[in-house]
């Protein structure tokens, strides 16, 4: 098992290097030279520029610059943001925390809702309940995330039941820890619900199809023939087999955290990675964008790895391989 995981990790390293190199190239061919821009900015001291030039080789060719960057990554130096004048790691730490909180919240909610619904839909296949559920699932799949966000914001602007934008209210400073937590959660609710709404449809459909396929397999018929009670067939035999493909999808979902939440974050004003990267891209903030893409890649690796491990835990066939 350990060897398997290590093996997978090693396979990812060249991919990660390739990906960062391509993004480095993409940003380098963008117009707008930040180095000269940097020199012209009176807010940045010449020592800082000199320091960065040494560390990142800013005046050297692209390929060399890339190796400088790579060298710094291994000493956990992600560089300095050109537009914020603070280390990138500092910027990302705050924003990444918000994005991860939002994603975990919405993923949890999506799964807890759509898995039971999917099972229910499969059991009631071709009946009126399934038709209604599938109809709504279709709508959910086809509604763009940003449009759901706008509809939810419209609804909230009419009713004002939930706070919108930011992570904290005005009274946050002198609130107790518990109140702070509740306040944070309240702000999380709007973007979280939007992401959940846009995720339920496709997950429901996947789960329903998986469960249905399992229910049609011969061993389920055998179980019926042996007189095993229906609920036992569903939850003891079918569910455990139907959930396996979902675990892979769970891994994908974790790896898609960054990309999936980005637009909704921008629309609802949740200070996560989305807005940061958008601004970084628009202002050619090289190291900021690089670091975000790197984190995206790492998340993908972690997500896939987690899926592999979970799959090995639930499915002995994978474990034995």
């Amino acid at each position: 098992m350990r060897r398997y995981i290590l093996n997978r990790l090693f396979q990812f390293i060249p991919l990660l290097i390739g990906m960062t190199f391509i993004s480095f190239l993409i940003i380098q061919i963008s117009p707008g030279d930040y180095f000269t821009q940097l020199k012209m900015n009176p807010e940045i001291s010449p020592e800082t520029i000199e320091n960065m030039r040494k560390l990142f080789g800013l005046d050297k060719p692209v390929i060399i610059q890339y190796f400088y960057w790579l060298k710094n990554i291994f000493s956990f130096n992600l560089g300095v943001s050109f537009s914020y004048h603070v280390p990138v790691s500092f910027l990302i730490k705050v924003r990444l925390k918000n994005t991860i909180a939002l994603s975990i919240f919405s993923i949890f909610l999506t799964w807890i809702i759509s898995i039971p619904l999917g099972i229910y839909g499969a059991i009631k296949d071709k009946k009126i309940q399934e038709r209604i559920l599938s109809f709504f699932a279709y709508i959910g799949i086809s509604l763009p995330g940003f449009f759901i966000a706008m509809l939810v914001i419209f609804f909230i602007s009419k009713t004002a039941i939930l706070p919108l934008g930011g992570t904290t209210s005005i009274f946050y400073e002198n609130a107790s820890n518990f109140e702070k937590f509740i306040d944070y959660l309240k702000h999380l609710l709007v973007p979280g619900l939007i992401l959940t709404l846009s995720g339920i449809g496709s997950l429901y459909r996947l789960m329903k199809n998986n469960f249905l396929e399992t229910l049609n397999s011969p061993y389920i018929f055998t179980a019926y023939a042996k007189g095993i009670p229906t609920y036992k067939i569903y939850f003891k035999h079918a569910l455990r087999n139907a959930i396996n493909p979902m675990i892979t999808i769970f891994g994908y979902e974790l790896s898609g955290i960054l990309s999936g939440a980005g637009l909704v974050e921008i629309i609802t004003g949740w200070p996560g990675m989305g807005r940061l990267v958008l601004e970084g891209v628009l202002s050619f903030d090289l190291y900021l964008v690089m670091a975000s893409l790197l984190i995206g890649g790492i998340l993908l690796i972690l997500g896939n790895l987690l899926a592999d491990i979970l799959l090995a835990l639930t499915d002995p066939r994978v474990r034995l391989r």
Binding site: P14, Y138, S142, L143, L263, V289, L293
Partner: protein
């Protein structure tokens, strides 16, 4: 073709209807010059954020009019965008005269499908510059609907080319190409889209931006396709008729494009239909963030961009969300159609 339509109608009526809705939407887009009552950039300064005009058959005396009419309206409170109805009846006519426009950019015409002689008719209301949203939705459909088709074709071309080569030749070429595909699939799609957009200056001409969006979206979309095509080619190339073709001395290029790729078509038709929504979404996302199609040209995405972070407009003028419904309608129709096509093209279901 006719057979497919018939089977679609019989097996999956919803996707049959979806197909016709899609055809209708494309028809609207093509004929926008004739159907739209106003040009997309015509600003009625006296009617900012005007709510959708109601079409009446009965006037305030409960008298029935055979010809539908609208009431003339007047802005009474510019600060709050409040409008008042003036009890003046403006009948709606077909083929009314208006400003000169070129239909399809070819035939100059002064008559449009419908309109009023006095007063204004804003079926979907107006935006804050007083531009008719109905007309802009029709013109915007041209961009939003065509980008899907063009983007998908480009992606499929790349996907077929790289997937086909990779699957057919195998070995080292396959290895290198598939690593490249994996690298592309590792990027967070949303951020890759932003980064690619940033490579190019913001102030391009609208046609350049259009091409740019197509290229960006295809660059993001080809990788997944290439991988699937490769898998299919791998299995098809073992078939005996390929061996026969090889024995006959047909060139490799011809074998790939004439004998292998056509065999993946039943899959690709479904995949094309189901991936068009992704391209429409990509265009709307870029335009929504102000990185895509620029004003005054409308696209469904950039018409929605005022709704971001602008709570007052959003809550006072919900008709600004109408382009979003069109995006939704298009996507759901493509999804229904794709599922229907998968149903009937799958040999298991014959």
């Amino acid at each position: 073709m006719k057979k497919i339509l018939q089977r679609l109608k019989k097996r999956n009526y919803i996707s049959f209807i979806s197909l016709w809705i899609i055809v209708f939407l494309y028809f609207l887009a093509i004929m926008a010059d004739f159907i739209a009552p106003y040009p997309y950039n015509k600003q009625f300064r006296d009617y900012p954020l005007c709510p959708p005009t109601k079409i009446h058959f009965f006037d305030h005396n409960k008298k029935f009019h055979l010809r539908p009419f609208v009431y003339e309206i007047k802005l009474v409170n510019p600060a709050l965008n409040q409008y008042e109805i003036i009890e003046k009846i403006c009948p709606i006519y077909f083929f009314v005269k208006g400003e000169k426009r070129k239909i399809l950019g070819l035939f100059p015409s002064t008559r449009y499908l419908f309109g009023t002689k006095q007063g204004k008719i804003f079926l979907f209301g107006t935006d804050m510059h007083g531009r008719d949203i109905f007309s802009r939705v029709l013109y915007g459909a041209r961009i939003s609907l065509s980008i899907g088709v063009i983007g998908v074709s480009l992606s499929f071309f790349l996907g077929f080319l790289i997937g086909g080569i990779s699957g057919y030749f195998g070995g080292r070429i396959d290895n290198i190409l598939m690593r490249l595909v994996e690298i592309f699939m590792m990027f967070p799609a949303f951020y890759l889209m932003l980064a690619l957009r940033a490579v190019f200056p913001l102030n391009l001409s609208s046609f350049q931006i259009y091409l740019l969006i197509v290229v960006i979206l295809s660059l993001i979309g080809w990788a997944g396709l290439a991988r699937i095509i490769r898998g299919m080619v791998l299995s098809i190339k073992e078939e005996e008729y390929i061996l026969a073709a090889k024995a006959l001395g047909i060139s490799t290029f011809k074998i790939i494009f004439k004998h292998i790729i056509p065999n993946t078509f039943s899959y690709s038709i479904t995949a094309i239909t189901l991936s068009i929504p992704g391209y429409i979404l990509g265009e709307s996302t870029l335009s929504l963030l102000g990185l895509g199609i620029q004003e005054p040209f409308p696209s469904w995405g950039n018409m929605l961009s005022v709704c971001i972070g602008n709570l007052r407009i959003l809550s006072n003028a919900p008709w600004m969300l109408i382009p979003g419904f069109f995006i939704f309608l298009t996507i759901i129709c493509f999804n229904f159609l794709g599922d229907g096509l998968r149903d009937i093209l799958d040999p298991k279901n014959w």
